[in-house]
């Protein structure tokens, strides 16, 4: 239930059933429930249909997650359906020349012809070496299901391969969140939180998870007096509304957080020591090799018992008070508790040191850390449904702005270190986990388990947290050399151009792109274009022709989200499912992308049997008899979802039920929301990262990867505690005097919304969104004025932009919104705004292989355009 001052609601909810009935009676049309799919948040919508035409989209007031609220993108969604640029029939290339803006000369084809052409190549590749297919599959609302297609095919190059989300997303958030407390995504528990520090995140203000709901919850929390502090190089929407904005130098959040940790453990000593002793691995003893010292008999990690003066296994019932600090001897080696290791390693990270790197004054870091510690109210508890939980009403929450850098995983480790120190993970007021369990597909929330070392083990359904080393490597993303990378899809264009250089014994031949666009997702366009040209067959499942289809051989037209089925739960604290359904029959000769994948699997011979796509879907969706896909039957995607609905409702509800009712979302019980790790210990010391790094180092040496290939794989970040590592952009190119950053807006979803005339018209009216935004004082020094047309120049690209001036940005920073600067035949999108990612190099030096990130900051200079280049259009 909603609480607080802001309890007034509008006199009527937007679309009550009574109102809908009323509208039906007045003959205005019928309202169909569905969910939006213009980003991955799946907000409930209702679509009015008149004479077989969708005429209006509104929020669904019966969606308990969003209460009928909806964002600009959701409300403008009809444009997608009615876009005259939609691909209306399968297309096959006639012009052999591929290139940027080179007309492929597409001819119309039948589905049979196009599918057979693609399936024939799939068969050949699968019989030869399945890795030669790159399956780049990124339909937000069902990316796990589509990835299962790639797994069933048998390629190591599936999921985000080639396009990558390492630029768009916050991969370290997912990776570190999962190994720390099972959180695929973290949510601040705003019903209790009183102090929120956002780092490179617009949680509740725009991008990020669950925007529509988070916006209301955060507005309510601020109304109740929550203090909001925002750390961001740019005066983001969040920063502009915050109690305090700290303009940080790009890619230095790690230094800020190390300074923060220094205050907590060295100066203020204001951490939750009782929790660290019993709820974390902080007291586990580390030997000189910084691995756990274990009991010779049981192999269990040891803790030094201060009461008895001896070391005991962590779960010994006789264990007295665990030591957090000091130096001890156990098993004949000198050892220290993991907490002491953190103390030692951060000794030099004073706020003054942090200030010298991140440009935030030491006094401010010190004050904030103390405020944060005080707000954490260590020791406080709150009773919910008769159960006492720790109450830690202070959160540090980061996202892409902090994480999408080579040092982003270390920075995310630093965030979690703070949260573990305060005992604020999975408890009221702190960060609550959305787990990667079957709940997303309608199943019940599952408790986390623990390993033999007593430390939490996350669910990772349809997800991988670890890639086994292999040589020759299999993954064109080089996951073999980056075992903990969640995604390095952006590297694929690089590695496939010179496979032998990286040790590959094969070269990819085919790329299937589904709802993705490497030119707007990845980096350096020349590398992407050369890679696309090198492939024998490029297939695009797409609604529009875009930058990438200029290189495609076959385009398979997908229906829009108003013509497709889906069933998902994207909430973090609810159970049940939400339906996406066709509000009208698909227009033109288009199909649901999942039905296209099913058809391809069938024609290429990997739909059936134990290794087939059906079996892979059963595993991913957690389907089990009697409600599982038969391995010898071909289903439509709607039929797959029908089985999913029946399975997770134990036979009570089918797809038709969801189509009628929209959703059966209801809040999970408090004990399924909080402390889902139960008595598993959380890592203050990231031993799994350390262990993976040690193993990687051994493997790289054994297989002589450096000698053979001249590849310097940096294994130094694989440590148990975060430490300062600069981004390569901090040391390079004095000639390029701006750090150029990119950001997301509530009116864009990547480049996908740039085709929407309503959203574009609003974006063009925004004072910043389409501009290259720089600090007004810096501009004066450089002789640049508001509205100047400039070339944004780096070593990798030269793009036009229009200068926008603001007081709200770090002086050395230029900000360019993501989602614009498209160069495509679509008249609404073409040539508007500036594309930042063209300036991002694709190479190993700018890739954080721990966690899997791309460095999303680049160094550029702004040069005033002259002559006809200076004209705005």
């Amino acid at each position: 239930m909603r609480q607080g001052v802001w309890t007034e609601r509008p006199p009527e909810d937007s679309m009550s059933d009574a109102a809908i009935a009323d509208q039906r009676e007045t003959g205005n049309g019928r309202w169909v429930r569905s969910h939006c799919q213009q980003c991955f948040n799946a907000c409930g919508i209702r679509v009015e249909v008149v004479d077989g035409n969708p005429v209006r989209i509104r929020g669904d007031a019966d969606d308990p997650n969003t209460h009928g609220h909806l964002c600009a993108r959701g409300l403008a969604g009809l444009a997608k359906f009615y876009d005259p640029q939609r691909v209306k029939t399968p297309l096959i290339r006639t012009n052999p020349e591929k290139g940027r803006r080179v007309d492929p000369g597409f001819r119309e084809a039948t589905w049979d012809e196009a599918l057979d052409l693609v399936a024939a190549k799939l068969r050949t590749i699968r019989a030869d070496n399945p890795n030669k297919l790159i399956a780049s599959l990124w339909p937000y609302e069902k990316y796990v299901q589509s990835s299962a297609w790639g797994s069933a095919f048998g390629t190591a190059n599936t999921g985000f391969s080639f396009s990558g989300v390492s630029n768009q997303c916050a991969n370290p958030n997912h990776f570190v969140g999962m190994i720390t407390h099972g959180a695929l995504v973290e949510f601040p528990d705003l019903t209790h939180c009183r102090y929120l520090i956002l780092l490179g995140s617009e949680y509740g203000f725009g991008a990020n998870q669950s925007f529509v709901r988070a916006a209301r919850e955060l507005a309510d929390a601020r109304d109740r007096g929550l203090k909001l502090v925002v750390v961001d190089p740019r005066l983001s929407v969040a920063a502009g509304k915050a109690d305090e904005w700290l303009p940080i130098k790009p890619a230095t959040d790690l230094a800020f957080l190390l300074g923060f940790i220094h205050v907590l453990v060295h100066e203020d000593r204001s951490y939750d020591a009782a929790w660290l002793r019993t709820g974390t691995n902080a007291p586990y003893l580390l030997g000189p090799d910084r691995n756990f010292v274990t009991d010779p008999d049981s192999g269990k990690p040891l803790i030094f018992d201060e009461t008895a003066g001896i070391a005991r296994p962590y779960d010994d019932p006789a264990l007295g008070r665990p030591a957090l600090e000091g130096t001890y001897t156990a098993n004949g080696v000198e050892c220290i508790p993991a907490f002491q290791h953190l103390v030692n390693e951060t000794a030099g990270n004073t706020p003054e040191w942090a200030e010298s790197i991140c440009d935030i004054p030491a006094g401010t870091i010190r004050r904030l850390a103390k405020e944060f510690a005080e707000a954490s109210s260590v020791g406080a508890t709150v009773a919910i449904d008769g159960v006492d939980y720790p109450l830690r009403p202070a959160c540090l929450l980061s996202y892409r702005g902090l994480q999408a850098h080579t040092n982003g995983t270390l920075a995310m480790m630093a965030q979690e270190t703070v949260m573990v120190l305060m005992g604020a993970l999975g408890v009221p007021g702190g960060l609550v986990a959305k787990s990667m369990d079957a709940r997303r597909f309608g199943g019940r929330p599952q408790l986390m388990t623990k390993g033999p070392d007593g430390i939490v083990r996350p669910h990772a359904t349809g997800w991988h947290l670890y890639t086994e080393f292999s040589y020759p490597p299999k993954s064109l993303e080089l996951r073999d050399y980056g075992p903990l990378a969640l995604d390095m899809g952006h590297l694929v264009p690089l590695t496939m151009l010179e496979p032998e250089k990286y040790g590959f014994d094969y070269s990819p031949e085919m790329l299937l792109i589904y709802h993705s666009n490497p030119f707007t997702n990845a980096g350096h366009h020349e590398v992407v274009a050369r890679a696309l040209k090198k492939l024998d067959l490029v297939v695009s499942i797409n609604i529009y022709l875009d930058e990438s289809t200029d290189y495609a051989d076959v385009v398979l037209p997908e229906s829009t989200y108003l013509e497709r089925f889906n069933l998902i739960n994207w909430t973090y604290d609810m159970q049940g499912l939400q339906v996406g359904q066709p509000v009208v029959e698909p227009r033109y000769d288009t199909r649901d992308g999942m039905d296209i994948l099913i058809e391809l699997a069938d024609r290429a011979g990997f739909l059936f049997g134990e290794g087939g796509f059906n079996a892979a879907l059963n595993r991913t969706l957690g389907l089990s008899p009697p409600h599982a896909l038969a391995l010898d039957r071909k289903y439509s995607y709607a039929e797959v979802l029908d089985v999913q609905a029946r399975c997770h409702s134990r036979g009570e509800r089918d797809l038709a039920w969801y189509c009628e009712h929209g959703n059966d979302l209801r809040p999970v019980a408090p004990d399924e929301k909080y402390r889902m790790y139960r008595d598993a210990r959380l890592p203050l010391y990231f031993n799994s990262i350390k262990a993976a790094g040690d193993e990687l180092r051994r493997n790289l040496e054994t297989y002589k990867i450096a000698e053979r290939h001249g590849l310097e794989i940096d294994t130094s970040p694989y440590q148990g505690v975060p430490f300062w590592q600069p981004s390569p952009v901090h040391g390079e190119d004095g000639d390029y005097d701006f750090y150029v950053i990119s950001y997301k807006s509530y009116m864009t979803t990547y480049g996908d919304t740039a085709t929407n005339p309503l959203l574009m018209s609003l974006s063009e009216r925004d004072p910043y969104l389409m501009k290259v935004v720089i600090n007004a004082h810096t501009a004066r020094k450089k002789g640049l004025r508001d509205g100047d047309v400039v070339w944004v120049e780096s070593r990798y690209a030269r793009e036009r932009g229009v200068v926008g001036l603001t007081e709200g940005i770090h002086p050395e920073t230029a900000a360019i919104s993501g989602g614009f600067g498209r160069f495509t035949r679509h008249p609404v999108a073409d040539g508007k705004g500036t594309l930042q990612n063209a300036h991002l190099p694709i190479d190993l030096a700018h890739t954080g292989m721990l966690g899997g990130t791309m460095e999303t900051v680049a160094r550029v200079r702004l040069v005033r355009a002259r002559g006809k280049d200076a004209r705005t259009h």
């Binding site: 509008p10 006199p11 009527e12 509104r58 955060l218 601020r222 005066l235 502009g240």
Partner: protein
């Protein structure tokens, strides 16, 4: 009879433009016509700077200058306080637009019925509520979604607002949400010096 009014919380508004898109699609407005807009203002100098988002629409003034200026009687006030435009009587003279201190009135320049999202190329079918709604040569404005209000619904911009920064209700009812907010949070009308007695108030400024 209610007297409809609206309250904007400047603390809650994050400028996301959901209201603007809801309004445009509800009323099927031509590309360059907005009944509600959100302005953004930067306040302060680096690094002490913040941003204010200011939503605006027709203030449905008690002493509406547009109504007084209207020579044809096209602009009138309903019993529930909603200021309306009767397009049958509007002669397009724009006196209202000149008189309005809030820039809340817009001239429909050309016929709307075959202009879609993509400039007429492939228009969404006319929405039943919007069809034949906007006649070229008339000067129109927000009507608090009177058709929705008449059905017991709040205006579209209010219903969708993710932060509930827009609160709609009966100003004659002292216990209504907007009445209470105006009272307890120093609700202020826009440009009070114009003495137009707006039924729209700003709080948390």
């Amino acid at each position: 009879m209610a007297r409809w009014g609206m309250v904007f919380s400047l603390a809650r508004c994050i400028g996301c433009n959901a209201c603007v898109v809801a309004c445009k699609t509800e009323n099927r407005l031509p590309d360059d016509i907005y009944f509600t807009r959100t302005f953004v203002e930067e306040v302060g100098t680096f690094p002490e700077v913040r941003r204010v988002y200011i939503p605006t629409l027709c203030n449905h003034c008690e002493d509406a200058p547009c109504e007084k200026a209207c020579p044809s009687g096209a602009t009138y006030t309903r019993d529930d306080g909603i200021v309306m435009v009767d397009q049958d009587r509007c002669i397009g003279c724009s006196a209202c637009a000149v008189a309005c201190p809030y820039d809340a009135r817009s001239m429909i320049e050309e016929p709307n019925d075959n202009r879609g999202l993509f400039g007429g190329a492939e228009a969404p079918p006319a929405e039943p509520d919007a069809v034949d709604r906007w006649r070229a040569g008339t000067v129109v404005k927000c009507d608090f979604c009177s058709r929705r209000v008449d059905r017991g619904l709040s205006p579209a911009c209010v219903a969708v607002c993710p932060t509930e920064a827009r609160i709609f209700g009966d100003l004659d009812d002292p216990e209504s949400a907007p009445s209470r907010l105006v009272r307890t949070r120093n609700g202020a009308p826009p440009l009070p010096e114009k003495n137009t007695k707006p039924k729209v108030f700003y709080i948390d400024y």
